[in-house]
């Protein structure tokens, strides 16, 4: 089944490749004022995590990813009335390093929202300290790609983590 899906997705690859040279929505550009030093090595093309059709690529997969994120966030206490989610989006470069983190807050009805920095920073930090992202290869070339982590927050705590 997995092979079948892969074959199908490989057919879709030219779509992704073609788009690289034009402006994309949800693009992140390096901002020296907020970003730690992060190298794209002169290649500004950044793919999406799903463009290789091979799924999430984290060393140790979900068990390792969730364990690291749980450990870093399970002490956090949120306002119990907040029902929403926090998305931390970033870039994984060809060396498997992550950088250019951007954090967004939404209510469960889809509105943009705010959370105190004292709660938001540890969530972003939890994602920054992850060290298992693997580089992705598209058409025999190692590429940079966008990835994200979503924290679902309800009942005063992180209830679910994606991916």
């Amino acid at each position: 089944m997995r092979r079948l899906i892969r074959t199908f997705l490989l057919i879709l690859l030219p779509v992704a490749a073609a788009a690289q040279v034009r402006p994309w929505v949800e693009a992140i550009t390096y901002d020296a004022a907020i970003d730690s030093p992060f190298s794209l090595g002169g290649d500004a093309n950044i793919y999406q995590y799903h463009n290789d059709g091979l799924g999430v690529n984290y060393r140790g997969d979900r068990p390792a990813l969730h364990e690291a994120l749980r450990k870093a966030t399970n002490q956090l206490k949120f306002d119990s009335t907040f029902d929403g989610l926090v998305r931390v989006r970033f870039v994984v470069n060809k060396a498997g390093e992550s950088g250019m983190f951007r954090t967004y807050v939404y209510t469960v009805s889809g509105e943009q929202a705010h959370l105190p920095a004292a709660l938001l920073n540890p969530l972003t930090q939890a994602v920054k300290q992850l060290n298992g992202w693997q580089p992705k290869i598209i058409r025999d070339q190692t590429v940079h790609y966008y990835q994200y982590v979503i924290f679902r927050i309800q009942g005063g705590k992180v209830s679910h983590i994606l991916p």
């Binding site: 089944m1 073609a18 999430v56 998305r87 009805s109 966008y146 679910h160 991916p163």
Partner: protein
């Protein structure tokens, strides 16, 4: 040379991730505005990838021809569901649902859970669908699960296991000819978690027979181990490894899936 290659790539990029709308059908139903928007969109989108800003502008142009063309709203929403932008995805998907509820509500329901962990929202959408279209069988956005199973898995994600089991049971009983590829696997594992071992075995064995995936063999191995039947556990683990290595396993290009088995878990089980 690079430009020629790029032009060739553009020409080859005609495949979209979901089905094209049937423009002729819109004309047949007398919706000429939607027909025109559809014709325009079909031609213009062929050379653009969903993440391109130009793709958004083309959708906007189609919507200026016909503001109630739900398909264009859904197309607008697509890069945002994949990149995790809940705000813009909801904004555009809500419009799609507003103008074509029957077609778009199932997709909004299933994406809410899978991409945003909004399981209560998914259940609310499915219940809305059930009220509006009683007796209709609809599938999730990617066709893997029926909405009934999405509902069952959403209850489970919220910790409501009994509700999850009865929802799945009810679906399998009502639609014995439409059982999804992994439905028995999930139900079997939920039975096991609830301590209902004979029912768990029955579902998982059937899953293994009808649509063999590593996860079913792995779950049966866990049951055998719990029953202290080490030989049987080992046999199932070997089978799980074979299936896993052959790619016969749960897989999704966007997310990890419920009950998906991973290499580290399999390696651990092989040490039993």
């Amino acid at each position: 040379m690079k430009r020629i290659l790029f032009a060739l790539l553009l020409l080859s990029s005609t495949i979209q991730l979901h089905a094209q709308p049937n423009c002729a059908a819109l004309l047949f139903y007398g919706d000429t505005a939607a027909y025109e928007a559809c014709q325009y969109l079909e031609t213009a989108l062929k050379v653009h990838y969903q993440y391109e800003e130009e793709f958004q502008r083309i959708c906007d142009s189609a919507l200026s021809i016909c503001g109630h063309f739900a398909y264009a709203w859904r197309e607008k929403s697509t890069p945002y569901v994949k990149s995790g932008n809940f705000h813009l995805w909801m904004k555009y998907m809500n419009e799609a649902v507003r103008y074509d509820t029957l077609e778009m509500l199932p997709a909004r329901a299933s994406c809410r859970g899978k991409f945003f962990a909004d399981y209560a929202g998914a259940i609310a959408d499915i219940e809305l669908f059930e009220r509006k279209y009683p007796g209709s069988l609809a599938m999730a956005h990617n066709g893997t699960y029926s909405l009934h199973m999405v509902k069952a898995l959403s209850y489970r994600a919220l910790g409501q296991r009994n509700q999850a089991i009865s929802t799945a049971e009810n679906y399998l009983r009502t639609y014995p000819n439409n059982i999804g590829m992994y439905d028995r696997l999930h139900l079997g594992i939920m039975y096991f978690e609830a301590g209902r071992v004979p029912e768990a075995k029955k579902q998982l064995e059937t899953q293994l027979k009808e649509s063999a995936v590593a996860e079913a063999a792995y779950a049966l191995a866990k049951i055998a181990k719990a029953e202290k039947n080490d030989d049987l556990a080992k046999k199932y683990i070997r089978q799980a490894r074979e299936l896993f290595n052959a790619g016969q396993q749960l897989f999704d290009p966007y997310h990890y899936l419920d009950d998906q088995l991973f290499e580290a878990e399999l390696v651990e089980a092989e040490r039993w």
